[in-house]
Amino acid sequence: MSEVIIAGIGQTEVGEHWEIGLRELAIAAIQDAVRDSGGLKPQALFVGNMLAPNLSNQAHLGALLADYAGLTGIEAVTIEAAGASGGAALRQGYLAVASGMVDVALVVGVEKFTDKIGAGVDAALATTSDSDFEAVQGMTLAAQAALLMKRYMHEYNVPKDGFAGFALTAHANGANNPCAMFRKAIKPETYTKAEMVSEPLNMFDIAPNADGAAAVVLTRRDLLPKDFPHPLVRIAGSASSSDTLALHDRKDMLYFDTAQISAGKAMKQAGIVLDQVSFFEYHDAFSIYAALSLEAVGFAIKGRGWKLAEDGEISLNRKISCATMGGMKARGFPGGAAGVYQAVEAAIQLRGQAEASQVTGAKIALIQSLGGPASTAVSHIFERFEA
């Protein structure tokens, strides 16, 4: 297998981009990434997108975006795995280059939430759950996470504000990310007083849906431009795993099997152990997901993921730095782009360009993209190495 390098990265600000359409958003990130790579010419485009056929009435994004990126003629397809679409697209790009079949792969994640307004967005999101046996009950993704959180709090006697640490960490870190939707730290009272969305889940347990696009250019080391200016970051491990779509079909819904399996495989491939991970970009679409991911990956024992956050152990340069650029909570949750944002942010950290958010001596990143309540989990290990 060839060594796969993150040659270029690009991202747009996450937010409500009323004036920018799906294609313009994606193209902005693509242009950034291609420029950052020193002008590499992609041979294949993998688009991570969750809901464009529903939210924007636009399917077939591969051809559309290749065309608008001036890449007509290349291979171009959409990869969909709900919230894990971005991570899944990254893995397809990785496989293409690693296999030697593609020299330069372009991965773009894009989501345009604001093309639809109102209750239709929740209905669209609910299509990523089990439509016949969950969504038909009027279920929303937030309610699904609330069911999980309620049970978790019941089983492990978590106090009322036990999950506050996730939002506090995310917002503290997002303050330094120029692409984040929210760039302001919050006080503990903000969490405590936040409006309840679906008991026990409040506004600050939920990452805000927002528009955004992020892109990476992948290639083999020998194809990098001669004057490539960045420190080298390679994909050292990549794995994906799937579980039941419906929460009610799980043997143990309080354990994210896929998060454990995919992270374990990716680390094994990279030849590292958990202690070597410099920071962990988890998929905190809901704070309960973050807690369960910390437990599944092995940073906390079962039932104690929330405590890690409460104790401040996931803040920058503590036990395990998480959501270093704000995570989904503060950077925003741009659906199928989220997993690619994680890749971009991890590359920035490993290049040592994260400024105030910099994880000291960052060498190895674990990034994990989840679809639904870890019905899909895609994990990647990024590693900085010296040429």
């Binding site: 038909v136 009027g138 069911l147 309620k150 049970r151 019941h154 969305v197 679906s198 419906a246």
Partner: protein, 131 residues
Amino acid sequence: MEIPRHWRLKQQRYSLVGEVCPHCDHKIFPPRDICPNCGDEAKELFTFSGKGEVYSYTKIYEAPTGFDANAPYTVALVKLEEGPIITAQLTDLDSTPVEIGMPVEMVTRKMRNDGDERGIIVYGYKFRLRT
């Protein structure tokens, strides 16, 4: 309109018809033809009693399209007496606070309109507190 989908699922929706594994007697809902317990084929129909208890619950204030007329409403994970957990709304709640472990029973209720009020009415299972 999604008539065929709702029509196809009517037995599950109206009366909790699932499956029982002929090999290990595992009860299955929703039906999936393959036993999640032993992995063998399981196509024998089994009608659940509709009795269970609340495994988890939450309330939805901002409902997705099609459910807005009923908001706010409570959804729950219900652990059926026969084993499986299912997702369902709780209905006929009064001022009694819902708690994990409360006994509930299945009732057949209106779920939503298929499309608007010109479309068919989708009926299905919900649960209410058992007295």
